[in-house]
């Protein structure tokens, strides 16, 4: 392998490592919420700075590869995708922190009078994170397209939760503080799904050179 090939490998590996770390954080943030586990929440908050550092590391590596190798074709697509994916991962890390913070806040409050089912929304968001990362590792555009299809379902679950919580707050204003925490969590989980969708789009670009965000006609022109 030529030296520059090793650096493209390193970029790829660092991105995978960052992805694994972020997937962990998202998972732990959800666990901290549903299991009311303080340790998990603190781990998520602690890992944030490591995630931030990895984003910087990836951007530096990508920038120096652009300067030195002036990458084209699949190398170019990796560098472009890496810069974008690392940004999405960093945002996901932040969102996991926000969820963990809400989870800590909720631990200090009494439970809501009725159960709000976060199971489906959180497992959908988590599965989008994992599938998008897996599609990156395997350069699997087919799998990435599967992630794009899940985005609508996340929106639907979030709307249902929002509806339930709004009604609850109207019925019983004493629940407002807690309900708002839960609303924020639902919103953050939805945003995590959005970032997973972005990553899936980048994987399709990486694997096939196709920009799915653009209408077909514009690509041909």
């Amino acid at each position: 392998m030529r030296p520059f090939e090793e650096e493209f490998e390193l970029l790829n590996d660092t991105l995978q490592e960052m992805g694994a770390l972020v997937a962990h954080s998202v998972h732990r943030s959800v666990l901290s919420l549903v299991e009311k586990n303080e340790d998990y929440a603190h781990q998520v908050i602690r890992d944030e700075s490591r995630i931030d550092q990895m984003e910087i590391q990836i951007d530096d590596l990508a920038a120096s590869l652009i300067v030195r190798e002036q990458p084209v074709a699949r190398d170019m697509r990796l560098v472009v995708a890496a810069i974008k994916i690392s940004t999405d991962l960093e945002r996901m890390g932040d969102l996991a922190v926000h969820i963990a913070e809400r989870a800590l806040s909720l631990m200090t409050q009494p439970p809501l009078p009725e159960t709000v089912n976060f199971g489906e929304l959180s497992s959908l968001a988590e599965s989008m994170v994992l599938s998008s990362l897996d599609s990156f590792v395997k350069r699997d555009a087919q799998a990435a397209r599967g992630v794009l299809e899940q985005d609508d379902r996340v929106d639907r679950h979030r709307n249902a939760i929002q509806h339930q919580l709004t009604q609850l707050m109207q019925k019983d204003p004493s629940t407002v503080t807690r309900a708002i925490d839960y609303l924020i969590v639902a919103r953050k989980l939805e945003r995590i799904g959005d970032h997973a969708t972005n990553i899936a789009e980048d994987v399709i670009f990486l694997a096939q050179g196709v920009d799915v965000r653009r209408p077909r006609e514009a690509q041909v022109a």
Binding site: A73, R139, A207, Q208, V210, R213
Partner: protein, 279 residues
């Protein structure tokens, strides 16, 4: 996000197949190309340097030819204005047309006027700047309706050199810089109003600033003529060319829009070469 799988091109495959060379190598077919090379085989003695190369050159476009050293880029380019004919013991098969007419059936002087050539090293004549420019128009009888001074000024302006040399037109052509000499050679080629301009690595002896000037020039010149450039500089091809052809071992592997070649080439050989993983 609003994405739909239907928008994804079906032919894009993550793993590229090695080329079979049986299919047509060019993705860019032009209805009425300015020039067309069809099934060109070329031999230096018994050595076959070009294998069944077919390539269209669209009018008023820049076509770049890239590929590793010895792959036949210069050989192909030099066939386009029949310079290879001057070599002994060479043979060409196939057809090359200019505006639909076979250039091999035409008067060679006429062809060389209509299809100009600029070489790797600037090669001005050991004469004044003025004499370098006026030589071609004079021997081609193009000074009947226009004065020599007019032709010289226009040619130098078209080559973006006029302002730099207008006060020393009668100085030796060797008294200007390499980058200026190369633009002088382009001006000289333009002086006879060619329809096609062939350039063989015209910037390889120039610094980045002189190179940028030539690249700007090429982009502006394509409104007046059709341009074919051989280059080893990938970024140069990406910057100036509308379409790019990749040659390997005397074969045209792939010809497509420059953007496609550098973002997502169809052939593994092309990708390996342009990403530096060749060999």
């Amino acid at each position: 996000m609003g994405t739909s799988p239907a928008r994804i091109t079906p032919n894009a495959s993550p793993t590229k197949m090695p080329t079979t060379h049986t299919e047509n190598q060019s993705q860019v077919q032009t209805a009425t190309p300015k020039m067309r090379a069809s099934n060109i085989n070329f031999y230096y003695g018994s050595f076959k340097a070009l294998h069944d190369v077919s390539l269209d050159f669209a009018a008023n476009k820049v076509t770049a030819l890239i590929g590793p050293s010895g792959c036949g880029k210069s050989t192909f380019l030099r066939n386009l204005n029949r310079i290879n004919e001057t070599l002994r013991d060479t043979r060409i098969e196939g057809e090359i047309t200019l505006d639909g007419e076979n250039i091999l059936d035409k008067d060679v002087t006429e062809i060389r006027r209509r299809i100009g050539m600029v070489f790797q090293r600037p090669n001005p004549f050991p004469k004044s700047i003025f004499e370098n420019i006026i030589y071609g128009p004079r021997i081609n009888g193009l000074l009947k309706n226009r004065s020599a001074a007019e032709v010289v000024e226009q040619s130098l302006r078209r080559a973006a050199l006029w302002d730099e040399v207008k006060d020393k037109l009668h100085d030796s052509a060797y008294a200007i810089s390499g980058g200026q000499q190369q633009r002088l050679c382009i001006a000289r080629a333009l002086a006879v109003d060619p329809e096609v301009l062939l350039l063989d690595e015209p910037c390889s002896a120039l610094d980045p600033i002189a190179t940028a000037k030539i690249e700007d020039l090429l982009v502006s010149l394509k409104h007046q003529c059709t341009i074919v450039i051989v280059t080893h500089n990938m970024q140069q091809a990406a910057r100036v060319a509308d379409t790019t052809g990749f040659f390997l071992l005397g074969k045209l592997i792939e010809h497509d829009k420059t953007d496609v070649i550098f973002k997502n080439p169809a052939k593994k050989e092309t990708e390996d070469y342009i990403t530096g993983r060749f060999g």
